[in-house]
C-alpha cells in the first residue's frame, strides 16, 4: 500500500473514486448475499443437531428438582442395570463391527475383482439395497427365519440341531446387526479397494514379492486409513442403532439406545435428565472412539 502514497495523483479521477466506493459496497452486498444463502442451512443444523446436543449436555447435570448435580452420572455408574446397558452396547457394537469388517473386506475385494461382469453389477446393486434394509423390516425377517417357528429353526430341528440360535438373545441380535453391517462395510470399503492401483501389485510381483507379502506390506498399510474409518462408522452406527433391537425384543434388550428411549417415550415414568445423562455417555463413547481413530491415523499414516 505504500506505493499509493508516493504515486503521482494521475490515476484517481472522480469517476474511479466513485467506482471504488461502489466496489466496496458491492463486496459487502456480495458477502451479505452469501450469508443469507447459507442461513437456512445453518439454522437447521443449529435447531436439530447443535441445540438438542446442547440441551443434553446441560440437562445431564440437572435432576428432577432442577438442581445442578452429578447425581445422574453417579446413579448410572453405580447401577448394575445401566452398567450392563453400557457393556452390552459396547460389546455388540464391537463384535458386529469387527466381524462385519472382516467379512465385508473380503466382500469388497471380491466385488472389486468381478465388478465389470454382469453378475458383479447385479451384486453391487443387491449389496446397496441390503445396506438400507435394517430396523423393523429386518427384525421381522429375522424372526420369520430364526424365530421360534422360523424357517431355519425348523430346518435345523429336522437335522437334529435345536436351540442353535435364539433370535431374541444377545447372539441373535448380534446376528441381526451383522446382517446389515456386512453390506455397509462392503459398500464403504469398495471405493478404497478400487483405489489400489493394479500396477503396485504387478510391480511388487516383479520385485519378487509373494501375494501374501504384497498384501501385508503394501496393500494393508495403504488401506489402513480406510479400514479404520470404516470401522468407526460401523461402530458408531451400531452404537446408535435402536430400531432393530427394539423391534426384535419389543424393547426388552438392555442396550443404551433402548434404555434412553424408555426414559423419554416409554410407558413408565418420564426421566428426561437421566436420559440426557445416558445420551451424554453414548456420545462420549463415540467421541473417545473417534479420538482414538484420529490418533491412530496420525501415528500410522505417513
Amino acid at each position: 500500500m505504500t506505493t499509493q502514497i508516493f504515486e503521482p495523483q494521475t490515476t484517481k479521477s472522480d469517476y474511479s473514486k466513485n467506482i471504488d466506493s461502489l466496489t466496496s459496497t458491492r463486496r459487502l452486498l456480495q458477502n451479505v448475499e452469501i450469508y443469507i444463502l447459507i442461513l437456512p442451512f445453518i439454522t437447521l443444523v443449529i435447531l436439530f443437531i447443535l441445540a438438542p446436543l446442547g440441551w443434553i449436555i446441560i440437562n445431564a447435570f440437572y435432576n428432577d428438582l432442577g438442581e445442578l448435580t452429578l447425581g445422574n452420572i453417579k446413579d448410572i455408574f453405580s447401577s448394575k442395570f445401566y452398567l450392563q446397558a453400557i457393556g452390552l452396547s459396547l460389546k455388540i457394537s464391537l463384535y458386529s463391527s469387527v466381524i462385519s469388517l472382516l467379512i465385508g473386506f473380503q466382500g469388497a475385494y471380491s466385488l472389486e475383482v468381478i465388478k465389470d461382469s454382469t453378475l458383479g453389477r447385479i451384486l453391487i446393486a443387491i449389496n446397496t439395497v441390503l445396506s438400507n434394509f435394517s430396523g423393523v423390516p429386518l427384525a421381522f425377517a429375522m424372526i420369520i427365519v430364526f424365530g421360534s417357528s422360523g424357517v431355519m429353526t425348523l430346518v435345523l430341528a429336522k437335522l437334529g440341531l435345536t436351540n442353535i440360535i435364539d433370535i431374541y438373545s444377545f447372539n441373535g441380535i448380534l446376528l441381526s446387526y451383522i446382517y446389515f453391517q456386512i453390506p455397509l462395510a462392503t459398500l464403504l470399503l469398495f471405493p478404497a479397494i478400487s483405489g489400489l492401483e493394479k500396477h503396485w501389485q504387478e510391480n511388487a510381483y516383479l520385485l519378487g514379492a509373494s501375494a501374501f507379502q504384497y498384501f501385508f506390506k503394501v496393500g494393508l498399510p495403504v488401506l489402513s486409513p480406510a479400514i479404520m474409518g470404516t470401522f468407526i462408522i460401523l461402530f458408531a452406527n451400531a452404537l446408535g442403532a435402536y430400531a432393530t433391537a427394539y423391534a426384535l425384543t419389543s424393547g426388552s434388550f438392555n442396550i443404551l439406545p433402548i434404555r434412553i428411549a424408555a426414559l423419554i417415550a416409554g410407558n413408565l415414568t418420564l426421566q428426561p435428565n437421566m436420559a440426557a445423562a445416558l445420551a451424554l455417555i453414548l456420545v462420549s463413547l463415540m467421541f473417545i472412539v473417534t479420538i482414538v481413530h484420529q490418533y491412530l491415523l496420525g501415528r500410522y499414516h505417513t
Binding site: 452469501i34 444463502l37 447459507i38 442451512f41 437447521l44 436439530f48 443437531i49 447443535l50 441445540a51 438438542p52 446436543l53 440441551w55 440437562n59 467379512i103 471380491s110 466385488l111 475383482v113 468381478i114 461382469s117 458383479g120 451384486l123 443387491i126 449389496n127 446397496t128 439395497v129 438400507n132 434394509f133 430396523g135 423393523v136 423390516p137 421381522f140 425377517a141 429375522m142 420369520i144 427365519v145 417357528s149 422360523g150 424357517v151 431355519m152 425348523l154 446382517y179 456386512i182 462408522i233 458408531a236 452406527n237 452404537l239 446408535g240 435402536y242 430400531a243 423391534a247 439406545p257 434412553i260 428411549a261 423419554i264 417415550a265 428426561p272 440426557a276 445420551a279 453414548l282 473417534t290
Partner: protein, 282 residues
C-alpha cells in the same frame, strides 16, 4: 489355435486349462454369491411367507396365496401410512437438497476455505445419532409436537440431519465432475449475472447429482424409525410404525408389508444406480 478365448492356455498334456486370473474370478464370484445368498435368506423367506397360505412345519409352504398382499394394499390404514411415509421422505429430501445446494455453490466458488467447517458439520449426524438428538428435540420443541402439522415440520427438520452427509456428498461429486468454477467464470465474462449463471449453466449440469441425492435421501428416510417412534406419539403412522404394530398379529401380513417395502427399496436403488452409472459415463 487362434479360436481359443484369450484366457485359456494349452497344457502340455493336451487339453486346456483356465488361467490363474480366471480361477481367481470364479473364487471371488463364489464368495460374493454365497455371502449374498446367505444374507438374502431372511428376505427370501419373508417373501415366501408373504405369499404362502399354510406354512407351519415344513420347509416350503403347503399352500400359496396372494391374499395377504391384497389385504394390506387395500387396507386404508396401511395406505395412510404409505402416504405419510412418502410425504415425509420426499419433503425431507427436497428440503435438504434446496438448503444444501447453495452451500455447495458458495464453497466451490467463493469460500473454498469453508470446507473444513463443512467437514465437521458432515460428521455431526454420525456423532449425534437420532436416539440422542431426539431427546433434545422432544424437550425443546414439545409445544410444536402436539399438533400434526408441527410434528410433521419437526420431523422433516430431523430428517434433514439424517440425510445431510449423503446429499452433500452426492451433489459435491457432481460439482467436482463439471468444473463449476470455469463454467461460472466463462458465463460471467459473457455478460450473465450470477443468478442467470446458476439457473442456466450450473443447475442443468447437476441433474444427475440432484437425482441421486433425492433417491438416496428417500431410501434412507423411508427406513427411519427412531424419530417417528419417539416424537410423533401416535398422531399418525409411517410404514415402519404400521409394520411394528403388526408384530404379534399375523406373520403373513407383516411379511407382506416387509416384502412390499423391500421392493420399494429395490426400485429406488435401481433408479440411483441408473443415474450414478450415467454420471460416470458422461
Amino acid at each position: 489355435m487362434s479360436n481359443q478365448p484369450a484366457n485359456t492356455i494349452n497344457s502340455p498334456m493336451g487339453g486346456k486349462q483356465r488361467t490363474k486370473s480366471e480361477v481367481n474370478k470364479i473364487y471371488h464370484s463364489l464368495y460374493i454369491l454365497i455371502l449374498l445368498t446367505i444374507i438374502t435368506i431372511p428376505i427370501a423367506s419373508t417373501g415366501i411367507y408373504a405369499i404362502s397360505g399354510n406354512w407351519s412345519q415344513s420347509i416350503l409352504p403347503e399352500s400359496w396365496t396372494f391374499q395377504w398382499l391384497l389385504q394390506i394394499w387395500t387396507d386404508e390404514r396401511f395406505l395412510w401410512a404409505c402416504f405419510y411415509s412418502f410425504l415425509l421422505c420426499i419433503s425431507g429430501a427436497l428440503l435438504s437438497i434446496t438448503l444444501i445446494f447453495p452451500v455447495l455453490l458458495i464453497v466451490h466458488t467463493k469460500k473454498p476455505h469453508w470446507q473444513r467447517w463443512i467437514n465437521f458439520v458432515l460428521v455431526l449426524p454420525f456423532a449425534v445419532p437420532p436416539i440422542v438428538s431426539s431427546i433434545g428435540v422432544l424437550n425443546l420443541y414439545s409445544d410444536f409436537l402436539n399438533n400434526k402439522i408441527g410434528a410433521i415440520l419437526i420431523l422433516i427438520g430431523c430428517y434433514f440431519t439424517i440425510v445431510l452427509p449423503f446429499v452433500y456428498r452426492a451433489l459435491d461429486s457432481n460439482f467436482l465432475a463439471i468444473g463449476v468454477k470455469d463454467l461460472i467464470e466463462s458465463s460471467n465474462l459473457m455478460g450473465a449475472t450470477s443468478l442467470k449463471t446458476v439457473f442456466y449453466v450450473v443447475m442443468p449440469n447437476l441433474k444427475t447429482g440432484f437425482i441421486v441425492a433425492f433417491f438416496i435421501s428417500v431410501s434412507f428416510l423411508i427406513g427411519e424409525f427412531v424419530y417417528v417412534n419417539i416424537l410423533i406419539g401416535g398422531q399418525f403412522e409411517t410404514i415402519q410404525i404400521y409394520l411394528y404394530s403388526l408384530k404379534n398379529l399375523s406373520g403373513h401380513l407383516s411379511s407382506a408389508v416387509v416384502i412390499s417395502y423391500f421392493f420399494i427399496l429395490l426400485i429406488i436403488t435401481a433408479i440411483i444406480n441408473m443415474f450414478s452409472g450415467s454420471k460416470r459415463r458422461g
